[in-house]
């Protein structure tokens, strides 16, 4: 799968798409592939805050639990309800319909040190 050019990526395999002061966050195709069949997604409540580098939720596959780390800080303004009923969508469309949360950015500068698509692709290529 192609990694969208307009996303930024973390080495923990999250992606973030910034539009104005809002960020949409998800996990990458590489992450869903490594996890295998996803059966449960645990997400925070709207209105709660998260800090860059801290866990804000978890994704569980049949085999294992995996924490999700916030690529940027901010207040959560939306969580993807689709995933509570259909966690398997995360295997099917991790860069699209199966986004995890949207948040209002606390400091837009935080995206600067994240990887771009080419860098991330290289990173996961080297990792696997």
């Amino acid at each position: 799968m192609k990694y969208p050019e307009n996303f930024k990526y973390t080495k923990e395999h999250e992606w973030v798409q910034v539009e104005g002061d809002e960020a949409t966050i998800g996990i990458t195709d590489h992450a869903q592939h490594e996890l295998g069949d996803i059966v449960f997604v645990d997400l925070p409540k709207v209105g709660s805050k998260t800090t860059k580098g801290h866990t804000f939720g978890s994704v569980e596959s049949v085999k294992a639990v995996s924490d999700i780390y916030a690529p940027v800080s901010g207040e959560i303004i939306s969580v993807n309800d689709l995933l509570s009923k259909s966690p398997e969508k995360l295997n099917e469309d991790p860069h699209g319909a199966a986004w995890l949360i949207k948040l209002r950015l606390a400091s837009p500068d935080e995206t600067r040190d994240l990887l771009n698509a080419a860098e991330y692709e290289k990173y996961v290529g080297a990792e696997s």
């Binding site: 295998g36 069949d37 059966v39 449960f40 978890s58 569980e60 049949v62 085999k63 509570s84």
Partner: protein, 367 residues
């Protein structure tokens, strides 16, 4: 985690790589955890047929005029009840009554027995049996001479039947016979670790790849799937089959593990018997029981189980059940609470999540 290069490999390692399996370190073995996906593989075994490489499992042979006596001394079940060609689930115990391992005992003849033991325990088991061999018997570590393939599912018989002249329908559950599979000598046992009908095939390592490919070809019309350890675990959990290191350990005795049925107290002395007798007199303090999650969350291995706001036990195995579409598990609880219908809480990362104890097995195949 140990270096991947130091991990042991089965004779089918290259085959798994070619099938693009995801490989993991399982007790020092580099094993396939999944190929197409755990749920898909799980469902293939429940509804059709799946093929597993379980060559990491260990084999120990016991020969001699007192082979049966030795087995009856080191293992809990009664080997004297076995007829040639019959297999039996049994356990090796320490003197204090805790598990060394759970094993399968196959009787070939009065002076020839074949044990299948857990991969990560094979050296320990061999040394344990050897150390207690004060009988006229010979114990042989035979793991290097066997690869093992498990063909499991309602279509397992039809699949394997295409590859052998042996009439498989004549082999009853927990019986076995020696024959040929795809022209390779094989021990064909109607046993398994999935809760489905099926066969476990013991072949020479050199034959493993040929038999593997032949089974995949024969199962094509039933959409056979190569299956990894991930599906093996979800399948055995639904069937409530114990896994060493989880339900059974050195600090757990067979009565606690709900495996009293493989302990034959009346067969004569055996290792651990005195301790078990004392345990029976004193009564159990804890016991294994099944649970299913009521609220959102998955209770996993090692998580605490709480009763009325206090820690009371722990989860031994837990995860999603593809057949039931529920999150299930097994846990140890105080014996008076280890019955179906108890409201419990599983601590999932410091948050209590509601669950209820339920009857097991979670899944039972239609006969």
């Amino acid at each position: 985690m140990s270096d991947v290069n130091e991990l042991k490999k089965t004779p089918l390692f290259d085959v798994h790589r070619a099938l693009n399996a995801k490989m993991v370190d399982f007790g020092g073995w580099n094993m396939p955890v999944q190929y197409s996906g755990i749920i898909q593989e799980h469902n293939a075994v429940r509804t059709g047929v799946g093929l597993f490489d379980v060559s990491h499992m260990g084999e120990i042979e016991v020969y001699g005029p007192e082979a049966e006596k030795l087995i009856n001394y080191v293992a809990t079940n009664n080997a004297s009840k076995l007829k040639p060609g019959q297999a039996q689930y049994s356990a090796l115990l320490y003197e204090h009554g805790g598990f060394v391992d759970d094993i399968l005992v196959h009787k070939i003849s009065d002076s020839d027995f074949f044990l299948c033991v857990n991969a990560s325990n094979q050296e320990k088991d061999f040394e344990h049996i050897q150390a207690h061999n004060r009988f006229n018997a010979e114990v042989v570590y035979a793991s290097d001479r066997y690869a093992q393939l498990a063909v499991q599912g309602p279509k397992a018989l039809e699949t394997v039947q295409k590859l052998t002249g042996v009439n498989l329908s004549a082999i009853k559950y927990y019986w076995f016979t020696d024959g040929q599979i795809a022209d390779a000598p094989a021990r064909i046992a109607r046993t398994g670790y999935t809760g489905e009908d099926g066969f476990e095939l013991y072949v020479a390592p050199e034959s493993a790849e040929r038999v593997w490919n032949a089974v995949l070809e024969a199962g094509k019309e039933f959409d056979i799937k190569p299956c990894g350890l991930g599906a093996r675990n979800t399948l055995r959990l639904e069937a409530k089959m114990a896994l060493y290191g989880h339900e059974i350990t050195a600090s757990i005795n067979p009565f606690e593990a709900d495996l009293g049925w493989i302990v034959k107290m009346d067969k004569g002395d055996f290792l651990g018997r005195a301790a078990l007798e004392k345990i029976q007199q004193q009564g159990l303090t804890r016991k294994l029981v099944g649970f299913e999650m009521k609220d959102r969350g998955i209770g996993r291995d090692g998580y605490e189980v709480w009763l009325h706001g206090k820690p009371a036990g722990w989860v031994t195995s837990g995860g999603p059940s593809p057949a039931l579409n529920k999150n299930i598990g097994l846990c140890y609880l105080p014996v008076e609470k280890a019955t179906p219908g108890e409201e419990i809480e599983v601590m999932i990362r410091n948050a209590p999540v509601k669950a209820v104890t339920v009857p097991t097995p979670f899944y039972k195949r239609a006969k």
